[in-house]
Symmetry: C2
Subunit: 695 residues, 2 copies
């Protein structure tokens, strides 16, 4: 490479600013859309208020938590403050807090626009599907652009100012720990409301989805925003930062004393990925045929091609290493393949969904068994995809030199995440149009409009399966490279302490195996705790809904002027989510610390491996089976196998209800859990090396 590497920092910062500009433009564009339905404005404002209230309360809890962690970092990391340099500890604590603040900001922006875009999209649907689609998509893009812009800006600033891996790790840990709890809290909130609303509304009283008589209906719509918009945003913010961090930590050890070629390449590719997403987002339109799924997928493909092209040009122009470009391209390609595999298992045109719908004829037990089976089967193609991309990236980059193999894997992860701006835009589109559907129903916009919002909503669900596949695959690769980052952190510390360098984690070492077994169990425990939170919470909310229907005269009959006490349900979801969001994440962190202090770095190496493998297994299983059940229910509702109201439909609803916390609470939170655990391990590497009981 023959150019000053600082140019790429400027490039990254410039592209971030461009993405903020696009986000700002879209935000005002969405806001400027027409709206004149008072009922929609009223309900929309409830949703907006509920979302903001929850977010505020959640951020208060999280800021206390972050404060405690920041103090601990200040005292103990990267070295106990009495051993090392105090400025390092202060710096790391500040970077940690910066990570949390940036992540929280991105979530807040998402909520801000999503709770306006939902109303605008509902009203735009009166004009047709195309304008409504555009409102929903541009609303989602605000989130996409700000999340990726913020993460790129954050990492660039922290790195450019400190050139210190501990600081970048600290920033990433801040992003992750916030994401862990935001995702968990949002996931518990949204599924508590969703399940309770469905259970009493659809199953017991047979009133339609989003019926305004249902006391939980606003809470349900709030949940879409705080869970799927803010929570998902925090999750992908975290993945993106973690992928860059892993690559950076490895690149720093490669570049030591050799110029910052690899580091420059990371910033170059990340900036071009965001640029590709900006172009993709700007070009998104619905075609003449009016298929929203196609529109979303097309913009994804366009972004993919642009990214591959731009990076190829950059690689050629700056004479960068082609092998690394190859690893990145493999990551991107495998991401698409994993997306297709997820799609096969959750698309209602394919065998699995139809089989489960048919099995539901025999009762809910068969809905569950067959869904679990296909969920299990869905794991294999994605795992093979991740495994093969890791091997290929490793082997492509291995010839470059010592240590490049692992760098290749981290660049494959970056490749998979390069189009994350586009992915988030697609993903945030989902809850916006879902909300729009609810508002259209509650605002009595008529069947034609409902039909349009239904089509938009369904496209959101289909695309979600693909983007989830991407996110999980990227997390898998990121974490393999975090394992590499962990080892390079350990070895830096080992050299400093005059200890022997670690060359690897041998499975035949019983401490490694010990770690693997406990690491394997950890994601299961984490998922169980989150879902039990939903379960407990939903029981409380169902009781409240029952109370309202019993005690408020005229509510069940839909008497004019009688409205349920929406805020009571929002209150229950909020309180419950805040109570349940900390323990599961904390247990994961505590188990990591326990294994580290008992078994040392070898046990942690095993623990991370077990945690990754089992985390991927469960995340894929739960996301896909949940999506499958959801679509099987929709397939039955659209008139197949007995249609709405049949026993088959009831069985399919049971599947959907089970799938709800699978796919929207536990499944996606596992992504973050795996990242947090890996980061905790990397950050604590030095301590684990010095203090442990066995091994």
């Amino acid at each position: 490479m023959n150019v000053d590497e600082n140019i790429f920092f400027y490039l990254a910062i410039a592209v971030s600013l461009v993405s903020f500009g696009v986000a700002y433009y879209f935000y005002h564009w969405v806001k400027s859309q027409k709206s004149n339905n008072e009922r929609i404005a009223e309900i929309g404002s409830y949703i907006r208020k509920g979302s903001n209230t929850f977010l505020k309360k959640e951020y208060i809890v999280l800021s206390q938590f972050a404060g405690v962690i920041a103090v601990l970092i200040l005292l103990f990391l990267p070295e106990p403050i009495w051993n090392g340099k105090a400025t390092d500890n202060i710096g790391m604590a500040v970077c940690y807090l910066l990570g949390t603040v940036f992540s929280a900001f991105a979530g807040k922006v998402g909520i801000e626009v999503a709770t306006i875009a939902n109303m605008k999209a509902a009203e735009a649907a009166k004009e047709g599907i195309k304008p409504s689609f555009l409102v929903g998509f541009r609303g989602g893009s605000v989130m996409g652009m700000s999340v990726v812009g913020t993460s790129l800006l954050g990492v660039t600033l922290v790195y450019a100012l400190t050139h210190d891996s501990s600081m970048v790790l600290g920033f990433s840990f801040g992003a992750s720990s916030l994401a862990l709890f935001a995702k968990a809290g949002g996931g518990i909130f949204t599924k508590t409301a969703d399940i309770s609303a469905d259970l009493v509304g659809k199953v017991e009283l047979s009133i339609p989805e989003d019926d305004p008589r249902n006391p939980a209906v606003i809470a349900d719509n709030v949940g879409d925003n705080v869970g799927d918009v803010a929570g998902m945003g925090a999750d992908l913010f975290d993945s993106n930062v973690a992928a860059m961090t892993a690559a950076l930590v490895i690149a720093m050890s490669l570049d030591k004393g050799k110029g910052n070629t690899n580091i420059a390449m990371i910033f170059c590719y990340a900036a071009l990925g965001l640029l590709a997403s900006v172009i993709g987002v700007l070009s998104a339109r619905m075609g003449k045929k009016g298929d929203p799924t196609k529109a979303l997928n097309n913009s994804t493909y366009i972004t993919t091609v642009i990214f591959a092209g731009l990076t190829a040009v950059a690689t050629w122009a700056f004479d960068m290493e082609w092998r690394i470009w190859g690893a990145t391209a493999i990551g991107l390609a495998v991401g698409v393949i994993i997306g297709f595999a997820s799609d096969y298992f959750t698309n209602d045109n394919k065998k699995p969904v139809r089989y489960v719908a048919k099995a539901s004829n025999m009762g809910p037990a068969f809905t569950i068994i067959s869904g679990v089976c296909y969920g299990f089967l869905s794991v294999l193609p994605s795992m093979i995809g991740i495994a093969i991309s890791a091997v290929l990236a490793y082997n492509i980059c291995d010839p470059i030199g010592d240590g490049y193999a692992m760098f290749g894997i981290s660049m494959a992860a970056m490749g998979m995440l390069s189009i994350v701006g586009m992915i988030i835009s697609n993903d945030a589109y989902g809850p916006i149009v879902d909300n729009a559907r609810g508002l259209a129903e509650m605002g009595d916009l008529g069947d034609e409009v409902l039909d349009i919002t239904d089509q938009l909503d369904s496209a959101g669900n289909t695309v979600k399966a693909i983007t989830k596949g991407f996110a999980i695959g990227a997390a898998g690769l990121t974490i393999i490279s975090l394992l590499g980052a962990f080892m390079s952190e350990v070895n830096v510390a080992a050299v400093e302490k005059g200890l022997e360098k670690i060359t690897g984690f041998d499975i035949m070492n019983p401490m490694v195996f010990f770690g693997i077994l406990i690491g394997t169990a950890t994601p299961a425990v984490f998922s169980a705790m989150l879902m039990l939170g939903v379960d407990r919470n939903a029981q409380r909310m169902v009781a409240e809904i029952h109370r309202q229907f019993k005690e408020i005269p005229g509510l069940k009959e839909g008497k004019k002027g009688v409205t349920p006490e929406y805020d009571k349900c929002i209150e229950i979801a909020t309180t419950g989510a805040l109570r349940e969001l900390i323990p599961a994440g904390l247990v994961s962190i505590v188990l990591t610390l326990a294994v580290g202090f008992v078994g040392g770095v070898y046990a942690i190496g095993g623990f991370l491996t077990g945690n990754i493998a089992s985390g991927l297994l469960l995340a894929l299983f739960m996301s896909n089976s949940g999506g499958l059940w959801d679509n099987a229910k929709k397939y039955v509702e659209s008139g197949h196998e007995g249609g709405k109201g049949s026993d088959t439909h009831k069985a399919a609803v049971v599947g959907d209800t089970v799938g709800d916390p699978f796919k929207d609470t536990a499944g996606p939170s596992l992504n973050t859990q795996v990242t947090v655990v890996s980061l905790v391990a990397s950050i604590m590497a030095t301590l684990f090396l010095s203090f442990h009981i066995f091994g």
Copy 2:
């Protein structure tokens, strides 16, 4: 040690013969019990005939399969026949066939006695609970004694005659491959019948369990025998042989040129374990209070103490290594702890079962979600138990010398399985008294007798949870040591071929990681295929039951003289099980071969690790959640949370139905799957070393 090691071969053979004597005595004792109810004799003969027919057909399929494998072994293993000594290939093929025949024989004996003991136990219940218990238990003991006697005799003969690890591995592989398919076939049969009978009988028509009008009722009882007696026997036969094999392979490399101290110790301990079980079985009696659960557990504890005492005396008398005794004792102790943990999650006096029963008030979706959560949580204590016992055994034995650490783990596995004779006796007791309950119902023996058989049945279920914990724990340790055995086989081959020795499997090696990811997915795929088999099969059988109720006049009303066509249902279960039993196991084996030939021995090391960890995770999850749902349903049926017939009960039945294939088809088959995969890897080690694409 100061005694000729041959003495321990004789000891092992002698104790095997003693156990056969006890089995023979019990068999005739059970046969000599009174029986005079014609109805019971008639139905009992249907069950007996159905079981034997299935077993015969299954064995025909399996003998064809075994024949194909034997030919492949003859051609390719331990070396391609054109490279190595032809006698080795012939020997290994013969040992393989011997393993399948011994295992099949033990299964056949179990069915033979179980299908007599069920009738005798039903009639003995007229005299009181004590005599009925004794018939059930002694019937089970025939199975326990013959399985362990056969396995000990088989391994001893093969080893004493050949002194060749390939031959022992061949024998073990024979036992495993038979167990894999016998367990799968039996598991599919039993759950097909059970689910279908429950679905139409209990849920649709609200007729009692075991009602003779139900066309699937005989098939259900046949299923208990072929699944829980023959299948489980094959499973534990396999575990026991595999544990001894792993220990032997490691001991042989330790003992090379140093006298056979360690090998002698293995046979000594195995013989004493069987002896302890013989004493435990002979001493089993119900106390005055008449609690069958206590009686079963007490004999387990007695056996445990006797084993610990006998081995301590032997260790002292023959001046054996105390550290190895320590590893064995740890294995045994941890087995008991794992058993208790399983008990907590499935016992209806404890929180999990009650929580799930309560959650069922809100509908089946909550039964499923809460059961899944507790199933996930139940994984952690057992995983920690296995992990800690492995670390302790390793560290205790490590100071003895090079290679002893892994030997310690294999001896811990043997310790956990030392009392397997007792465990099988307890386990086979379950289906016998379950059948007795059915016969008492169908033979109209009256409520008092039904009450007694219900008590006996319930004790069987409680004890089952504990014994399953033992079996899974032992499988975990065995397979860790099989990993050691795999490595020692690889290195023997590497030395022969002049290649570099393998020192371990480093997680940071991408081929190892590749293997881990695919290995992690494999048990999920295996489970899904088995359960889809049950699902498909049950759909066929339910259609047949519906047909019979529709077409046979007077059947639904219970008109006298009208009997359903039981044999049609047995036929469906048989055909379906035979069709579905091969693919799942075959896919596991094919994946192992694919990974091995693609990635070589490093990928296989990772594959085995991923497969073990995820296999344990899923086996524990599925066994425990299945047991939990079963007991939650029984808890509701005993009058809690609304009792029988309530909506809560219906929800609990959905949980039980989902749990059926979890706990009786997929969960326990995973034990065997993990063993088979490990053995395939060990046997193919040489080939994987020579031929592979990458790595």
